[in-house]
Amino acid sequence: MAVPAQKFDLAAEILTALPAPAGEAGWASAARGAAAKRFAAMGAPHRRDEYWKYTDPARLLASQAPVAARISTDETPTFAESEQLRLVFVDGVFDPERSDALALEGCEIQPLAEALRTDIHWARDIFGVLEARSQDAVHRPLAALNTAHATEGFAIRVTGRVKKPVSFIYERRSDAADAFLHHVIRLEAGADLTVIEAGPAASRLSSVMEIDIADGAGFHHVRTQGRDHERLAYTAMFSRLGEKSTFKSFTLTANGRLTRNEQIVEFAGAEAVAHVAGACLGDGDFHHDDTVFITHGAPDCESRQVYKKVLRNGAVGVFQGKILVHSIAQRTDGYQISQGLLLDEDSQFLTKPELEIYADDVKCSHGATCGAVDEEALFYLTSRGVPRGEATDLLVLAFVDEAVAEIEDEELAADVRDQLAGWVARHRT
């Protein structure tokens, strides 16, 4: 068949167009080189790959970033009201002028490019390492490509319980631009950090975040991906959890022509907890894919996946969620729910839950549902005077709330709920 050759040709072509940056430390160049090799060996992803069956990666691989109109609104950007360390990117390039000073108690923050020019041993143990580890189970060529090429992003080492969130604010100025972001985060034992991400970053985004969480540490992540309609995004978060550590991540996606958000979680120590959640809202030309892979490699860990998708006018939602439980991971508690709410008959929700379990004493449950708005509930609400449109809104917001409730910080959760309510009101029938 013609497909395989084409995958490798395309990978080679892309690598030529996106060379590794020069002037980096030896270890960094080596990591780049290894990643490029991985990408070349795996080939560019293709629709016929099992892992891309429901989402066509072609537009992520096209030689030019697409033109994507920027939404201009006067509303305050998400999370702007919360106390935070603001780090602003414009079209995927850090803008120090508009950002806060890189100083935060309990935390060392450095631009990635700077970190890769020096001999920082902690970053060396993570950059491209967590991404590479994950490639054994499933090929993630776009993440390898990101490691090979991305220069923007931050290296953050957390040593204490950081009081305010680090906030990445992704603005756009250009109608058509590619952005490659790569963040590397290390939480030392007992440390705690919240990272916020807000905005679309570019008309086409590739983003990787590698998070290494030592024993007893906690990492919280809340993200909104902006409201631009035509943008494309591929994101992957790789997390490794030590004993009794916590990882929590929530993403809100409203609009966007194509989004693939991957979560790759590895339990390396016992009694750790990982919750990944997402809510997405799509109207029309919208394709949204959440792909999750959770490896239980240690006993007594808890994982929880909560994904909700509201779809209308031909929007497509995809969920691929896998829990792999190794034989050592006794007493694993794994929960997964993925639900699609279709507001009309043109929309689609495709879901593929996978369980692979080698331990005998585990508690794993998963549920996937897909349906329309509950007519009984709708009648109850309208019979009390709530107009049908508003009643539907209430039910839509109720539907996604199980995912939003995964956000621990009440202030951030309230902000996400406002965003959701705004979208729903703007897209009322």
Binding site: A377, F379, Y380, L381, S383, R384, G385, V386
Partner: protein
Amino acid sequence: MLKIENLHVQLEEEDKTILKGVDLEVKRGQVHAIMGPNGSGKSTLSYVLAGREGYEVTQGTATLDGADLLGIEPEERAALGLFLAFQYPVEIPGVGNMTFLRTALNAQRKARGEEEINAADFLRVVREKAKSLDIDAEMLKRPINVGFSGGEKKRNEILQMAVLEPKMCILDETDSGLDVDAMKLVADGVNALRAKDRAFLVITHYQRLLDHIRPDVVHIMADGRIVQTGGPELALEVERNGYADILKAVA
């Protein structure tokens, strides 16, 4: 106030006629009761009046103060002042009781061209009415009817009615599933709302409720029709002898 004439209703999904010519008029200030055997069409009548989907009106009319009810949306009927307390109140996870009730009240006010109620006034009104119905304020923070006992759901229906102040109240078996004290609270709640420009249609199987809410008129429904109409004594007769004699007499 509520006028139903020769109402025929069948199911949309299957060829089954449920209401076969209902005639009923409830005047301003009155309380009417409807009794009748299981499956005779009492709930169907209430649903058709409130605008639930799935029914087809093949003949007849229903008006509220002269305005046609059957051709308009459920929310428009509510704004005209119609209220149905459900036989089986629906649980709606994720939608808070208070949010819902305030949205409903303000939507009705808006539809009638009245000013919206502010959050503080709303809270005060609800607290006060909840207290008189012995509803815990904490309960109202929960999603609609979720985790409520059967009796709590029914009391919540009456609370909503008290807050929305409709002019035509239909109560479908609000008494079933209530303990003796709760029944008294619900009846007191209804009686407190009795007014000369408000009317009630109370569907019930039991005389007990009618001891507390004295009806002006009692109807017996059987097989999709009102087969007998009388005063409060009709309910007593049903309580004593069941429906057999009444149905025999009209057959």
